[in-house]
Amino acid sequence: MIELIDQINPLGGVIALFFVVSLISILWWMLHPPDYIPAAAAKARHSVFAIKKILVPTVGLPYAERGVELACRLGSEQGAEILLTYVVEVPRTMPLGIPLPDAEQEGNEALERACSIVKLHGLPSQKILQRARLAGEEIARIARDRDVDLIILGIRSEPGLRDAILGRTSDIILRHSPCEVLIDKLPKGAQE
């Protein structure tokens, strides 16, 4: 055995080893292709992949910002654009153009925070601050005008009215939205 080892040319040994290891590695890689994707799975996968514009309404609260994070994760693979929207609701008793500096400042701050989340994911984003009588109607209109593919709405765990499951804004968006809507409702008692 020692005699055999003595006969081995060191450089030849290295080449032989390189040859065998390379051959085995190549064949192993070749024989392990990705799994088969059935038609239904492919359809589902690519219907999500086709989402290129996501609208996220925010109110500056943690549950809404969680919606922004969810939108970024859903859109990251296909590099979707995130439209961040804050709607200042103006009561019907006041003119729509009335100065509301505090509300607008609050809106801008909420949009800035949401934008910082999107930046972390490296996705393109737009900030939209609007006034409207009903936030839900305005969000549905923006979705229609801007050709949005998906609205992601983070909502609080307990809406204001006892009998309503989702709350007024969510309900209007669900009824009037022209695109897919995803509602993220946190469980009762979750930190808001």
Partner: protein, 522 residues
């Protein structure tokens, strides 16, 4: 776009019988390996005779072009997983007449592949029967004809013909077994050779003192490239491969790497074990000579290499039968050849007429080459190089054209190094490959006397057949038959069960349509 021609591979209503998807991942790999693996048994001695001490360099130069070709074929075969290979890509990218030219060049290669390797296989069998090897008679003006060897070659062609009529599963199984066995035995020769017989100083000495002339070197490079039709075979089997768009990039990339490993290992080993003259003198069985010089395995090497040589070149011939029949099937479906070629056997689902026709052509080549006397195999090799380089050149041009004309088809594999220009990825390596294969074709025409006459002659013959067929059927002679390529692509991906790519393609088209509608409304 009008839809007048049905998809070659599609499961469309009215399609009577289709090719069967029976080729597994290992089967797909061994289709290619069978073709390229045989190169060592036939080309090593020939290349050594021309390139002398620079043989590894000649294989490396051919290998560089081969890598580029490999990348291009991997992209094209995974994007368009149909039978036809280079011919289909050229038809789709450049038009009908160029598709016919590429197809004719490849048909030349496949038929020579059958005749050359069947002859070589019989030659290796005759290693055990020296009396047959030495047998020669004169028939009229023809001198020194080995009738028994010729009969053996014809018998092998008939055997392969029956095998291919029976079905691709049977022939693929045959390839898989022999291909696997061959790889194991070649590995043993290489490992034992490098461990116990190889002397690096001998390689350096021969490289320094035995360098060939420029013309000899280029001739050697052109002979070394002939073996790389193996990749074409992988794409020919695409229509019968399960999940081709997933499997073919893997098998092609693996084939490129494995073949390069063997193609580089054998000449480096050979020059470190024996003087180049020893191998050049034995053009018919260089591997057996090399193996017999290796300690511990050498005593078995002569017989083992002969058996192995006989089988591997036989499966290479088998690849030729398969390639020629699938290619003519595809050409016929694309209305480049008469529909007579696309008839599929109702029971075995194989293109039976094409198999028989090209087997007969190969048999005629064998008879003709044996009538020329002892240099019959040289004659075949000369024509082989022309067909391969012409088809590869056209495939590179088609790849560039398809990137521009058809950016929506998903490409599971893309050639590396691209520049994005106006939304289109321009393949830099594709452009380099086009120039490299064009240069290689120039070398073939310069160095192969018969190749520059017989090669173009064969292509012109098929061009005449094409024009006659198109004229008879009132198809356009020099322009294209209108086709709905998008519908065809959907049918191809559906038939291949590549649903992920199908959805990707549909979304890309939907997005394009949306953009066009928006643009029109503005």
């Amino acid at each position: 776009m009008a839809s007048e021609v049905r998809a070659p591979s599609a499961a469309l209503p009215g399609t009577p019988v289709e090719l069967r998807r029976d080729v597994s991942i290992w089967g797909s790999f061994t289709w290619g390996y069978a073709d390229v693996g045989a190169d060592v048994y036939v080309a090593l001695g020939l290349v050594m005779g021309a390139a002398h001490g620079a043989t590894p360099l000649a294989f490396a130069a051919a290998g560089f072009v081969y890598i580029l070709i490999g990348f291009a074929y991997t992209e094209l075969a995974s994007a368009y997983p149909v039978a036809g290979g280079g011919q289909y890509y050229t038809t789709r990218g450049l038009g009908d007449i160029w598709g016919l030219i590429a197809g004719a060049a490849l048909l030349l290669d496949y038929t020579i592949c059958i005749s050359l390797f069947a002859t070589a296989s019989a030659g290796y069998i005759n290693f055990f029967f020296p009396a047959i090897r030495e047998f020669a008679i004169d028939i009229g003006p023809f001198q020194g004809i080995n009738l028994i060897w010729a009969a053996e070659s014809l018998f092998l062609i008939v055997l392969l013909m029956i095998l291919n009529i029976r079905g691709i599963r049977e022939s693929s199984l045959f390839n898989s077994l022999i291909g696997g066995l061959d790889m194991v035995l070649e590995t043993i020769i290489i490992v034992f050779g490098f461990l116990f017989a190889w002397k690096p100083e001998m390689v350096v000495f021969q490289f320094k003192t035995e360098f060939p002339s420029t013309e000899q070197f280029f001739y050697a490079v052109s002979v070394a490239i002939i073996s790389y039709v193996g990749l074409e075979s992988v794409s020919q089997a695409a229509q019968e491969t399960r999940r081709p768009a997933t499997i073919i990039p893997r098998t092609s990339v693996s084939l490129i790497c494995v073949v390069l490993l063997f193609a580089m290992a054998f000449p480096i080993l050979a020059l470190g074990v024996l003087p180049w003259q020893a191998l050049a003198e034995r053009e018919s069985d260089p591997v057996a000579v090399l193996a017999s010089a290796i300690p511990y395995v050498g005593f078995l090497a002569g017989h083992a290499a002969a058996v192995l040589g006989a089988t591997i070149v036989l499966i290479s011939a088998n690849t030729g039968v398969m390639g020629a029949s699938r290619l003519s099937y595809s050409m016929s479906e694309s209305h480049l050849l008469s529909p007579w070629f696309s008839a599929v056997h109702p029971k075995f689902r194989t293109p039976v007429r094409a198999v028989v026709f090209f087997s007969v052509v190969a048999a005629a080549q064998v008879i003709f080459s044996f009538l020329t006397g002892p240099h019959a195999m040289d004659t075949m090799v000369n024509m082989y190089a022309f067909g391969a380089t012409l088809a590869y050149f056209l495939s590179f041009i088609a790849l560039i054209a398809l990137r521009i004309k058809d950016p929506y088809t998903p490409r599971p594999y893309r050639m590396p190094f691209n520049i994005k220009f106006k939304g289109i990825y321009i393949p830099i390596l594709g452009i380099v490959g086009a120039f490299a294969t064009l240069a290689m074709m120039g070398v073939v025409l310069w160095t192969h006397a018969l190749g520059r006459v017989a090669g173009p002659g064969w292509v012109l013959l098929w061009l005449a057949v094409y024009l006659w067929y198109r004229w008879k059927n009132r198809h356009p002679l020099f322009s294209n038959i209108p086709r709905d390529w998008e519908k065809e692509q959907i049918a191809i991906l559906t038939s291949a069960e590549e649903f992920d790519l199908l959805e990707q393609y549909k979304h890309a088209l939907a997005e394009r349509n949306k953009k066009e509608a928006k643009h029109a409304s503005q």
